[in-house]
């Protein structure tokens, strides 16, 4: 549904995107992940045809974005980083305009607008002026605008920013409901977002795709792979680390007077630790094998500075 190959974009001497390649299948929901300034918004603007690429081929819904821009635009719903709203319009007036702009047939307009408002949770807000809406509601109106003409491809730039937790759940549910019928690419810098929504993610940093794959695949890229969480008493770090088969331990914050440790080893050390504890070598309260988090992987992939920027 979306094919990007060898995409390069330069703003004058500054290279914003450098040889970006990825493909998104029909019906997929893909997270577009990266620190601020990595090139997420630029990529999305190129996908929608708002700005042209310097080089490379971009095909959306089967059409070349450059050669057949109108074919692409008709099939794409786009929510830019800031929701594109006219503050002097009411919600109803605004969506009416968007429906006309998107050539929703006149007869269907009222129902389409009603349905979409229902979907994004805007029922009863027709007469409110956009200028007086909170960030969360603005985001919903922006989303409604992108969904109005039932596009097969949805490009959402930070769709959940500024939403409170309750709203967040609602929007996530909505996006998830689109899976299968719609192809969705959404950018975010919030990891849990991708975790909750996207089976697959593309990680971009400084204009390059640094990793892509399913979430499990990405997690595997975290350093050291899986590790073991323990809470113990009566044993200190060096002794714990000195046990056979254990490569390294890292201290974690103490919990209720119990020392917590991250235990790394090449094999699963749980049997060994449980056996030792049963033998009375030390007291054991918690023993848990943990998979690497996406955060670990992300930090690893883009580097610590990048992740915090």
């Amino acid at each position: 549904m979306i094919e990007v190959s060898r995409l390069t974009k330069a703003f004058g001497p500054r290279v914003a995107l450098d040889d970006v390649n990825f493909t998104i299948q029909k019906g997929e929901i893909v997270g577009f992940l990266g620190p601020n300034g990595a090139g997420k918004t630029t990529t999305m603007r190129i996908l929608t045809g708002y700005i042209p690429a310097t080089a490379g081929i971009v095909r959306v819904a089967g059409y070349d974005v450059f050669d057949e821009p109108y074919e692409v635009r008709e099939r794409v719903g786009y929510l830019p980083e800031t929701p594109p709203l006219y503050p002097e319009f009411s919600v109803g007036e605004y969506l009416q305009f968007c429906a006309e702009l998107r050539r929703v047939p006149k007869a269907k307009r009222a129902t389409v607008i009603g349905d979409t408002m229902e979907r994004v949770g805007l029922r009863g807000w027709e007469r409110r002026l956009l200028g007086s809406l909170s960030k969360g509601y603005r985001q919903r109106v922006g989303l409604a605008q992108a969904l109005l003409h039932d596009p097969s491809v949805l490009i959402l730039d930070e769709p959940t920013s500024g939403l409170d937790p309750a709203q967040l759940a609602g929007i996530r549910e909505l996006i998830q409901s689109l899976a299968g019928t719609h192809t969705v690419i959404l950018s975010t810098h919030i990891l849990s977002e991708v975790d909750a929504l996207c089976p697959r993610a593309i990680i971009i940093d400084r204009g390059r795709v640094v990793a892509q794959g399913t979430l499990a695949e990405l997690r595997e890229q975290a350093p050291g792979g899986a590790w073991t969480y323990v809470e113990v008493r009566g044993i200190d770090g060096p002794r714990l680390g000195g046990l056979p088969g254990i490569a390294r331990v890292e201290p974690l914050p103490t919990v209720d007077g119990w020392a917590a440790w991250c235990v790394r080893s090449s094999t699963d050390p749980r049997e060994l630790l449980a056996g030792r504890a049963a033998a009375g070598d030390f007291q054991l309260r918690a023993l848990e094998r943990r998979a690497p988090t996406l955060e670990d992987a992300f930090i690893h992939i883009v580097g610590r500075e990048g992740a915090q920027a």
């Binding site: 042209p52 009411s90 002026l129």
Partner: protein, 485 residues
């Protein structure tokens, strides 16, 4: 790949500056082209803004000659309210003249501010126009430009500048000494005869335009090996021959016409009809033209009506009567012969007829359908003969045929208020000097707005207060209705 990208950039973005410059340049070049062939529509009342066709003809004549002409107009007295109308009317006229002509340069001068220009031209009055061409100069005074018309409430100023300017152009373009020959030798009217039946007065009238009236006698034309109409002839007049003109002489006349000549032929009832008329498709039926509308107390002097033609234009405007006496009907072929264009110049009213004798009432003729010809009867007709007729080989021949010779004579020229103009205009038309026939119309009315102090107050509130206030109220209403939503 790289090539296609470069092409894309060029097509869609890279050459943006070049294309923009080209579009701007094309817009400018387009203006030059449009400027060459301007089309104008005049929507003002009576098409008063644009120049009259006659003025345009005159300007075209000036352009053809290419001698530079300058028109300098001086402003009206400052502070006088009518000066605004005067200045504006003059400026508008100058703009139109400037637009329509190549050789005329116009200048509007503030009389108070630019005293030097006024002094240089020796102009001492406000609202004066000075027209200069070569060394010649014509001044047009305020009273020729503006006229007060109407009575009481309706009294207003009228601008007659176009007409005045027109006359000035005509005066400046007049050429010297052109000869009008009048045929003699067959009992025609005589230019040297100062009696009532002579043409001496007509010669004096033509002198006004520097036309000289001279006799032409083919028989006595000794200085020529082969008799012919002299080359300097501006027109040839054949005014009521009493005996038929010999065929040989008629051939000479036809030869003259063939070279694009101009003829005026006058006949009277019962006088012999030159056979040339037949060649031109004009018949002089028997009888005489009469009308219920007569010049009192003469039973044989119908009052001619002026038909639309350059000859009669200013006569009908000034409603001056041309007096005729004992008129033969003139009948042009309908439809006209090929290559000949007929225009009736003089005609009776609808009550006129061609009388062929019969009963009289109070000494005046009566219309008797059984014997008389039905009116209105034509008294004079103008012909333009083109090459298609086979009669003319070069240019256009012009012929005026009048069913009365008396109107050219001393007696009626002095008596009839319009006769002199009719005669002069006839020759002007024949010779192609329409430019001299003065223009009618073109007077522009001042559209006065007479306001009392009270009216002024009302207008002030209506014009300045009402609209903005309404809009503000509307704006506040909209703002209030949407606030807090």
């Amino acid at each position: 790949m790289a090539v296609s990208q470069a092409r894309r950039r060029f097509a869609a973005g890279g050459n943006s500056l070049l294309v923009s410059v080209l579009v701007v340049a094309a817009a400018c070049v387009g203006y030059l082209l449009v400027d060459l062939h301007r089309l104008r529509v005049d929507l003002s009342a009576d098409q008063g803004a644009a120049l009259l066709p006659d003025t345009l003809t005159k300007l075209a004549l000036l352009d053809r000659d290419a001698t530079p002409v300058t028109v300098t107009a001086f402003s009206g007295q400052r502070g006088k309210q009518e000066s605004y109308f005067k200045d504006r009317a003059l400026r508008d006229l100058l703009d139109e003249v400037d637009f329509a002509s190549q050789v005329v340069t116009v200048q509007f001068v503030d009389f108070d501010k630019e005293r030097l220009t006024a002094e240089k031209l020796g102009v001492t009055d406000y609202s004066t126009v000075v027209v200069q061409r070569g060394g010649a100069r014509v001044d047009i005074k305020d009273r020729e430009l503006f006229k007060r018309v109407g009575k009481g409430e309706d009294r207003h100023l009228e601008f007659l500048g176009e007409k005045a300017l027109d006359r000035a152009f005509a005066q400046l373009t007049a050429e010297n000494h052109r000869v009008v020959y009048t045929l003699v030798g067959h009992g025609e009217l005589d230019p040297d005869n100062h009696d009532l039946g002579g043409l001496s007065e007509a010669a004096a009238v033509l002198q006004q335009d520097d036309y000289k009236l001279e006799r032409l006698d083919f028989i006595r034309q000794r200085d020529m090996a082969v008799p012919r109409v002299p080359d300097d002839a501006a027109a040839l007049a054949i005014l009521r021959p009493k005996v038929p003109i010999p065929a040989l002489e008629e051939d000479l006349i036809l030869a003259y016409l063939a070279g694009g000549g101009a003829l005026v032929i006058a006949v009277d009832p019962e006088s012999p009809v030159p056979s040339i008329l037949g060649r031109l498709g004009v018949v002089i039926p028997s009888g005489r033209v009469l009308d219920k509308l007569l010049v009192f107390p003469y039973p044989d002097r119908p009052v001619p009506r002026y038909k639309s033609h350059p000859i009669t234009r200013d006569l009908s405007e000034d409603s001056l009567v041309t007096v005729v006496s004992g008129v033969a009907p003139v009948q042009a072929a309908v439809p006209p012969l090929e290559g000949i264009r007929n225009t009736i110049v003089l005609e009776t009213t609808r009550d006129g007829w061609i009388d062929r004798g019969g009963a009289l009432k109070n000494g005046q003729g009566l219309y008797e359908p059984a014997i008389d010809g039905q009116g209105p009867a034509t008294m004079a007709v103008a012909l333009e003969v083109s090459r298609d007729s086979g009669l003319v080989k070069k240019g256009i021949g012009r012929v005026l045929i009048v069913g009365d010779s008396d109107l050219f004579t001393n007696g009626l020229l002095l008596e009839g208020p319009g006769n002199a103009s009719f005669v002069l205009n006839s020759f002007r038309w024949l010779i192609g000097d329409e430019a001299r026939i003065s223009v009618i119309g073109g007077a522009k009315k001042a559209r006065r707005l007479a306001l009392t102090a009270e009216d002024g107050d009302q207008i002030r509130w209506l014009a300045i207060g009402l609209g903005p206030l309404l809009v503000l109220v509307l704006g506040v209403g909209v703002w209030a209705s949407r606030r807090g939503r």
